[in-house]
């Protein structure tokens, strides 16, 4: 119990970014994102040069070859073409493409075919309409919406490898500062990895249109120091807190449809359609980032989810006020 409360850091205590913007592809903090960033600078430089050259030619031709009163009465020389010029501006682009391709192919291979080292953390990510399920099979943890991973020291890397699955439609996992996005497609397991180089909170969201509330399927990755990660893991591995003061709420919870969709470990609630609620209070937000994790929001969410996330698959539970308060109180004990 006491170990648990040490895990209960107030949400904002985790080191936040001091720089903005929060989710730029040009602020890589992980090897895949950095490889992409380096490649992108190379590509931008080459396309930039091409732009400057062609733009200059275009502007020059507009200015130099304007019709004016001096030449208004004569047609200019009717030139049909030039084979040498055509050759030149065919060969040069071919060479540019070859160079760009070789640079790109190296990065594709480096990212996609990277072998998984022994110390890697493994997470199975399952996309749902409209929330994220995170399972750590080797650690026996089931979490939702807020992913915790350890920071990775380049000298002794501890990357996180994610297997990506979907329970319904297509989704896409995108944390710009940590990696390129990869889709979650039913019946088509995908794999991606990241090795964040510093601790902090990293934001992202679903990038593949998945239905009404695609916009609010947000992602929050907490990159923890090794000690913090260990502490978080231990906390998540515990069964649900059994707080006697919340018995009324727990009864309401277990005798209503809640248990059909939600799991609270160590209790009869073992539904898998909705997020696991065992350690709900360890998350800073609810409804996949749609609202802050406060008692008021929880109450509103349970009573009328459409007020927070219209079109989400959480039904309005239509509880009486007393039952509702009790359930919220019970939720508040699930640290």
């Amino acid at each position: 119990m006491f170990a648990l409360s040490s895990v209960l850091l107030p949400p904002r205590a985790v080191a936040e970014h001091s720089h903005s913007p929060l989710t730029s592809v040009f602020s890589p903090e992980s090897t895949p994102a950095k490889s992409i960033f380096d490649l992108s600078i190379f590509v931008l430089s080459i396309t930039g040069i091409i732009f400057v050259v062609v733009f200059t030619l275009l502007v020059y031709s507009i200015l130099k070859f304007r019709a004016n009163s001096a030449n208004a009465d004569r047609e200019p020389a009717q030139v049909y073409g030039s084979n040498q010029i055509e050759m030149a501006w065919t060969i040069i682009p071919i060479l540019i493409v070859v160079v760009l391709f070789l640079a790109t192919a190296r990065v594709i291979h480096a990212i996609q075919d990277a072998p998984e080292p022994v110390g890697a953390v493994e997470v199975t990510t399952i996309g749902h309409q409209y929330w994220w399920e995170f399972r750590y099979p080797k650690l026996g943890i089931v979490a939702a919406n807020e992913l915790h991973v350890p920071v990775s020291d380049p000298s002794r890397p501890t990357p996180t490898f994610l297997q990506l699955l979907s329970a319904d439609t297509d989704h896409s996992f995108w944390i710009p500062e940590l990696a390129g996005k990869t889709d979650l497609i039913p019946n088509h397991p995908n794999r991606m990895w990241m090795d964040p180089h510093r601790t902090g909170i990293f934001l992202g969201q679903c990038a593949q249109y998945c239905g009404a509330q695609h916009a609010k399927m947000l992602l929050r990755v907490s990159v923890d120091s090794p000690q913090d990660f260990e502490a978080w893991v231990r906390g998540q591995q515990q069964l649900a807190v059994q707080d006697p003061s919340a018995m009324t709420g727990r009864q309401v919870f277990e005798h209503t449809a809640c248990i059909n969709c939600h799991t609270v470990s160590g209790t009869p609630a073992d539904g898998r359609f909705g997020p696991d609620l065992t350690h709900l209070m360890s998350r800073t937000t609810i409804a996949a980032g749609a609202a802050e994790n406060t008692p008021e929001n929880l109450r509103l969410w349970i009573q009328n989810p459409d007020k927070i996330k219209p079109g989400s698959l959480m039904p309005a539970m239509k509880l009486g006020d007393a039952d509702l308060d009790a359930v919220v109180k019970y939720m508040e004990t699930l640290r």
Partner: protein, 557 residues
């Protein structure tokens, strides 16, 4: 106005009851009238699609806005994309092709006039079906639901389980029906060009517009049909219990993606190639020189057509194909940029050493060159698959393809309007209004679509009805939305120009631009039969030869 005794009265002269006129228009098989019908039809849908865009932009003006519900927003972006591609871009390009191709090859009409009419009305039915969904589609949530699955309609979102009701079916049927119309048009264009050219017009003497429409039509035959096939499969899944895209039975969502993009990528080349055609006719005339490198332009276009059939999965870089597949599609996508770039160089080569006149068609053409260059370069950026893993599905892509479609295709279309409107109606469009249209639209376009790249780079995905504050996306989205309104005003100026010039524009005469292809030899508008006697040509620019008998092109042919 020419005093050619052969010319019989055109559209505006005869006084007859309006009912008779209406009947003639509805039952017409004349390629010129069908061309005008296609164009007018597309303009109506341009306004509808534009309203949908404005609704989207108002909702996205700032974070956590609630101008529209999420469900309505999702219908808006689905309808906007579907409308603009299938019921604006395609019909308007078919309209111009229909109008111009027979005239440019010295023919009396298309090869199959009745098939032409049938194809138009099929396409029209498709558009009607799509919009009927607003009132007709029944679902769990009551009557009247436009499709909301995105214009790509990815499986399994389109399965009955995730899209109950009929919205998706309206999407499917509308496109299936108009797709068959497009096939009919493609067959007609190919048969016309191969079989009805006037004597002397060998394939290497055809105007580039004719060549490029031939290539476009060939691409249509094998690009549209994969979509039709996939849509039949979708209907089988939704209504006959089929499992083509049913993950629970072992079906593959990725298979839909492959089929869709095997259509979807060649489709965008189908859209841009006729615009290349417009540029290849207009830029030479306003530079007072022939197109630079005609054979290379033809070869490059054919090359683009073939290579573009091999690039489709660059829309699927994030789907989890292996590194070899991703590398393959990277190289093919970069490769298709080569012939495309060559065309840009050839257009600049046409202007080089010329005597450029900055009339409105040329202003829009120069805008096209500048913007298509940028669009092509952002395309190259995304061809690099790892960079695309960041940029795909974000507002960077949305900015890129709008740069092509609005900055490229729409600008080329505006140029075509100002260039051929005199031929079609006998009146010039107002240059003054044209310049207002151009500059307003240019400013609005760049305000919107230059800035739009940035939220994408800052992590903003597409197809979201709202976004979180504190991501630095708010101001950028506001600027994008303001630009959209400026473009809307410019479009209104354009529509006003079209209407007022019809009644008050200066009389155009046969050949207001001093051009060189056969359509400029007829009256404006041309008689119903186009040519009193079948033309015979000896070069690519028959009117240049007539105007410059001392230095005809036929000497060098």
């Amino acid at each position: 106005m020419s005093s050619n005794a052969i010319t019989i009265q055109g559209l505006e002269v005869e006084e007859k009851p309006w009912v008779d006129s209406l009947h003639q228009w509805v039952t017409t098989v004349d390629h010129k009238r069908l061309g005008v019908l296609y164009i007018l039809y597309a303009l109506v849908f341009l306004l509808l699609g534009g309203i949908e865009a404005l609704i989207i932009r108002i909702q996205l003006m700032h974070s956590h806005n609630n101008f529209v519900s999420p469900q309505l927003f999702n219908r808006m972006f689905t309808m906007h994309g579907t409308t603009m591609i299938f019921f604006v871009a395609m019909p308007i390009l078919f309209g111009f092709a229909n109008y111009l191709v027979p005239l440019m090859i010295g023919a009396r009409d298309m090869a199959f006039p009745r098939l032409n009419a049938f194809s138009f009305w099929l396409s029209a039915l498709g558009g009607f079906l799509l919009y009927f969904s607003l009132v007709g589609a029944n679902g769990l949530y009551g009557a009247g639901n436009a499709p909301d699955v995105g214009w790509w309609a990815y499986a399994p979102l389109t399965a009955r389980a995730f899209s109950p009701g009929h919205s998706t079916d309206y999407w499917t049927l509308a496109l299936l029906v108009s797709g068959f119309g497009s096939i009919g048009t493609a067959i007609n264009i190919i048969a016309t060009i191969l079989c009805l050219r006037c004597p002397g017009m060998k394939l290497n003497r055809m105007p580039l517009l004719v060549w490029l429409n031939l290539v476009m039509a060939g691409m249509l035959l094998i690009a549209i049909t994969p979509l039709s096939a996939a849509q039949i499969m979708l209907l089988i899944d939704r209504y006959f219990g089929g499992h083509f895209f049913d993950a629970q039975a072992g079906g593959s969502a990725v298979l839909w993606m492959h089929f869709f993009w095997i259509f979807g990528h060649p489709e965008v080349y189908v859209l841009i190639i006729p615009c290349f055609a417009f540029m290849s006719e207009i830029i030479p005339v306003f530079s007072r020189k022939p197109i630079f490198g005609y054979p290379v332009m033809v070869a490059a276009t054919v090359c683009i057509a073939f290579v573009s059939l091999s690039v489709w999965a660059h829309h699927m870089f994030t789907v989890g194909m292996n590194s070899y597949a991703n590398s393959f599609f990277t190289i093919t996508t970069m490769a298709v940029g080569i012939p495309t770039g060559i065309k840009i160089f050839n257009w600049i080569g046409t202007m080089w050493g010329g005597r450029i006149q900055f009339k409105t068609p040329m202003l829009f053409s120069i805008g096209f060159l500048f913007q298509f260059l940028i669009a092509g370069l952002t395309g190259i950026m995304m061809a690099a698959a790892p960079f695309d893993w960041q940029l795909s599905l974000s507002y960077f892509v949305v900015a890129h393809f709008h740069y092509v479609i609005v900055g490229g295709i729409l600008f080329a279309l505006f140029a075509a309007f100002y260039y051929w409107y005199p031929k079609i109606t006998g009146r010039m469009l107002s240059e003054r209004l044209g310049k207002w249209h151009f500059w307003l639209f240019l400013i609005g376009f760049h305000l919107t679509f230059d800035v739009m790249h940035i939220p994408g780079l800052l992590g903003m995905p597409r197809r979201i009805y709202t976004y979180e504050p504190g991501r630095d996306w708010d101001t950028l989205n506001l600027i994008v939305s303001i630009g959209a309104f400026i473009q809307a005003i410019a479009i209104l100026v354009f529509i006003w120009n079209l209407i007022s010039s019809y009644f008050n524009g200066a009389k155009a005469g046969n050949d207001p631009w001093d051009a060189w292809t056969l359509e400029w030899s007829t009256s404006s508008p041309p008689p119903a039969y186009n040519f009193a006697t079948v033309p015979v040509v000896a070069s690519r620019r028959p009117l240049w030869d007539l105007k410059h008998p001392e230095d005809p092109d036929s000497l060098y042919d």
